[in-house]
Amino acid sequence: VKTGNATKKKPAGVAGLGCICAAGARVDDIMSAMYAGTRKAAAPQRIQADIADPPPVFEVPSNCDKIEGPSSRTLRLCLAAVEEALDNAKLTASDLRKVRLGIALGTTVGCTLNNEPFYRDCKAGKNPEIVPVSNYLNSNPAIYLAGLFKARGPVATLANACSSGTDAIGLAKSWIENGLCDMAIAGGCDELSRIAYLGFFALQIISPAPCKPFDRTRSGLNLGEGAGVMVLESLDSAGYRNKRPLAYVTGYGSACDAYHPITPHPEGIGLSKAIAVALADAALPAGQIAFINAHGTSTVENDRVEGRVIARMFPPLIHVVSTKAYTGHTLGAAGGLEAVFTVRGLLDRRLPATVGFQEEDPECVVVPTRENVPVAGDAGLSTSLAFGGTNSALIFETEEQ
């Protein structure tokens, strides 16, 4: 596998982590909730749908939703996570203005021009004010943050559906490695949207109950919302600040299935390729991966394909967790959240149980964590499978402990 390894000169360190999701408003709180096995799936509060027995969602609790700022809720969630990540990295906004800062953020809802009330009024001939369009034009996540921090490095809002957050971190990694920036804010953000809720309902892949990743009786996903971001930093920059990175993002790969708009390839060819590229990029054998934070949406097809690929590529007893059991599927934010949880799994030396999982499914082959488990190893893998057949994988490593 040809990768960027040959030209890699500037490894990307992880300087800080930030998250907000249904499980909590800060990374520590979220990890505590996951280690305690608590989750908060409930009927949607902020969005209403004229559907009998509305399927549960994972919403950011109202007591966590005090963020002020832009009109876009996606952006407000993002800003909350960024604030925590900067605090965790011991950086201020003025510090960021002194470096070449890159911004790579993934989103789906956050880049979609489909304000429903506005469109209803347009359709009804009510000549609505175009404020929602102006708000949309001013709410592009990466552009907004680039303006906020006067970023002088590259800027990208990635809309790669459910792998957006993973790809954003992978792209930012390449910027650092190639010397395009000294630091990068990277991850994903998405609010819960009524349109996405109705769309996934139409696709019949939403579960009527809290999700059960990899379980034999799983019946679909739950939507969620949130943001997960990390501050990446070149080793030169970390050295200049006299800071040791929390971890390193050492491997990234992405590949297409070229198979179906929403269903993964039955043999997972794209996912296998993405993982293989990431392993080669990190120069690690599969046996060195201590655990996998799987995409694990709890849909029949995703978990079957992903489980089979993992079983084929990794040793039989590798730990596999799906943290979507605690966050729901946060779409463009998912890869960002799960990357943060992967780093924390390495730092905490443990993984949470995959809550909801009870019954093994021979079709999935793998059995996810049934209880909190210790992590023995210094490398973790996070995978994403997206609409459109995009598959991506990130590898994080900590220094030997």
Binding site: K2, T3, G4, A6, T7, D50, I51, T108, C111, T112, L113, N114, E116, Y119, R120, C122, K123, N127, E129, I130, V133, L137, N140, A142, I143, P154, V155, A156, T157, L158, A159, N160, A161, L171, S174, W175, N178, L180, I195, L198, G199, F201, A202, L203, S254, A255, C256, A258, Y259, H260, P261, I262, I269, G270, A386, F387, G388, G389, T390, S392
Partner: protein, 347 residues
């Protein structure tokens, strides 16, 4: 680093493919502009829109398989196939060595609204799963990957005026780092009535795009999609480009009647450099620089600068073997430029 432009696939109001583009540039073909009547709070507005008529896609894709593919995706699929057809080198057999990077400002907005139509007209449980699937931003890249069996990475980027910069930079990284051997990059947008409504409310009076008039907004919406097949510079025989390089004997400004970036364009015009703008042939689009790059590619190949609807020098004019063209886009607080020339000049 410079990269090779191996093929271009333009789909615009001038038509589909290089021949239509060339005819448009030479004045033997005019852009298709349709007038739309739009009701605003202050009265009815007649909005001209540069619109695409998709032609020739069935040369590449069976007509029956187009049934479930929306119009914007069809533009992208056609542009990708045209770029490959125009290429001086075939795609590698191992398509995991080919990547896709698409960008748009608004994504499949019209398809999103069509999904909403189902919900509004028939109820919350009546949204179309097909329309929802096609309303996701990366559905275009997905469709092209499926149609061409491309197994490498696929990105979709959406950062308004900054999109082209991100696309070309990412392609450069992928090629330089050995992630891929070919990159298909594509940029464009589709007109939809909601965007027309916004334009009708934001702009007072629509007559013609005046790219060099930085005082008044002379925006007229356009649509289209352009794909470029890119490879490493060592493979180029016709055109190479280098990003972040505003050197060049001629400058193509992405000025399109918007006020966004007009200060930057004014400075370039005042600098005395030879500047041209082609947006009156394609319409105003945040990603309109893509069409400028297509025109510049063709200019380098043909060895002359085509007649420009707006320029501060006489066109057409010969382009010397060692001369190059910079395509420049400005936005509030930033800008982007790439330089195109013959391989010997830029390598």
């Amino acid at each position: 680093m410079s990269i090779a432009i191996l093929g271009i696939g333009p789909v615009s109001a001038l038509g589909c493919g290089i021949a239509s583009l060339k005819d448009g540039l030479e004045g033997t073909n005019r852009p298709a502009i349709h007038n739309h009547s739009i009701e605003t709070a202050t009265g009815e507005v007649s909005l001209p829109v540069y619109q695409v008529e998709i032609q020739g896609l069935d040369r590449f894709v069976p007509r029956a398989s187009l049934r479930r593919i929306d119009r914007f995706s069809q533009m992208a699929l056609l542009a990708a196939n045209l770029a490959i057809e125009d290429s001086e080198a075939a795609l590698p057999e191992d398509t995991s060595r080919v990547g896709i990077i698409f960008g748009s400002a608004y994504g499949p907005a019209q398809t999103s609204f069509r999904f909403l139509d189902g919900v509004i007209d028939f109820g919350d449980n009546c949204g179309s799963p097909t329309l929802f699937t096609n309303s996701v931003h990366n559905s275009l890249a997905s469709l092209v990957s499926m149609s061409l069996r491309i197994l490498g990475p696929a990105y979709t980027v959406t950062c308004f005026h900054q999109t082209a910069k991100t696309l070309f930079k990412t392609a450069e990284l992928w090629l330089e780092n050995g992630i891929v051997d070919r990159a298909i990059i594509g940029l464009g947008d589709e007109y939809c009535p909601v965007l027309g409504y916004a334009a009708a409310n934001l702009v007072s009076g629509f007559s013609e795009i005046r790219p060099f008039d930085g005082r008044d907004c002379t925006y007229i919406p356009g649509e289209g999609f352009v794909c470029f097949l890119l490879g490493r510079d060592s493979e180029a025989s016709r055109t190479v480009l280098s990003s972040d390089d505003d050197g060049g004997d001629y400058v193509f400004l992405a000025a399109n009647g918007e006020r966004e970036g007009s200060d930057g364009y004014r400075r370039l015009l005042e600098s005395g450099r030879r500047c041209a703008a082609y947006s009156p042939l394609f319409g105003s689009m945040p990603l309109g620089i893509a069409f400028d790059i297509a025109v510049a590619t063709l200019s380098v190949r043909q060895g002359h600068i085509y007649p420009a609807p707006a320029s501060n020098f006489s066109t057409p004019v010969s382009l010397g073997e060692k001369e190059s063209i910079a395509c420049v886009q400005h936005w509030k607080g930033g800008g982007f430029s790439i330089r195109l020339g013959k391989p010997s000049r830029s390598n």
